[in-house]
Symmetry: C2
Subunit: 179 residues, 2 copies
């Protein structure tokens, strides 16, 4: 199962692609779609849409995940964030993917074992878990964390059914499995 995690923003949209193969989590790709702030907002959104559609066509994930948003700091920033999310969601669903949502707390819990972890904790744990040589930029690390969070949620449920375990197994270091 290949999962793409997305962390949308009107200036920088992070993406992270991982494969879940049995118990193993493999890093496939990550990056940040950056759009110049000199562009008009509509043109930025069109770029986000186009870039994500291209990424889905290239990596062919079976599942897309985005962070659930309950509150934004204020209605103005909520509109701008919503617009970036709208462009991203339209691209993902328009490419035939179902888009799942996961809470920030679930993501942090899954990646670091602590639902209240800092951004920097998430960055460190994502690169450790995926055996990355360098720490990804924050937006890409968040997107990878979202994908990892989703993969672990799925495995957790599976483990509970099969073995009655409530806690996820530690992910093995899979660096050597990366091509």
């Amino acid at each position: 199962m290949r999962i793409i995690g997305i962390d949308p923003g009107s200036r920088a949209t992070g993406y992270g692609v991982v494969d879940l193969e049995g118990q193993n989590l493999l890093h496939v790709a990550h990056g940040v779609i950056r759009v110049p702030s000199s562009l008009a907002q509509a043109a930025r959104l069109a770029k986000i849409h186009r870039a994500l559609a291209a990424l889905v066509a290239e990596f062919e994930p079976q599942c897309a995940v985005i962070e659930r948003v309950f509150l934004a700091r204020n209605p103005k920033s909520a509109i701008v964030l919503g617009e970036a999310r709208g462009a991203a969601l339209a691209a993902l669903a328009g490419s035939g993917l179902e888009v799942e949502e996961i809470s920030a707390r679930e993501v942090k819990q899954a990646v670091t074992g602590n639902g209240g972890a800092t951004k920097s904790d998430v960055q460190t744990m994502v690169s450790r878990r995926l055996g990355l040589v360098s720490v990804p930029p924050s937006d890409a690390a968040d997107a990878l964390a979202i994908a990892i969070g989703r993969s672990q949620a799925g495995r957790l449920a599976g483990l509970e059914i099969r073995r009655g375990r409530r806690r996820p197994r530690r992910l093995a270091d899979i660096a050597r499995e990366l091509s």
Copy 2:
């Protein structure tokens, strides 16, 4: 000059297309893109995006206009509204259009002569000004009003330069010019 006005919403997105030919405003088309509330939000947004891209391909407007939003009732509804706007803006800009924004007050002022007009006033005046046989549904009327507002803003500016006039001329009833 052909203008498409858009009134985005996650359940219903109104659109209205008008032609500005010299002093005359001609009705071209209007409608509402409705997406079933049974669909997931991402699938709705993909539908809005696809439908707007198809409308732009069909009617080939030179200009797209959307209402400027300053505040939403609360951050939660702001996210949802923002998402619908994001899908719409990505579709318009992705089709090569520049998207302009106009305030609700400017729209109402242009269409009814009163910046504080009600939704029902706008509906009535839009259909009167465009010589429509029946009153369009509210979302489509709002979209036509946005397009009319933009057309009048352009003419106003032109009139000011040419004749030093500050007030827009009343639009003639153009019903008989409709094919």
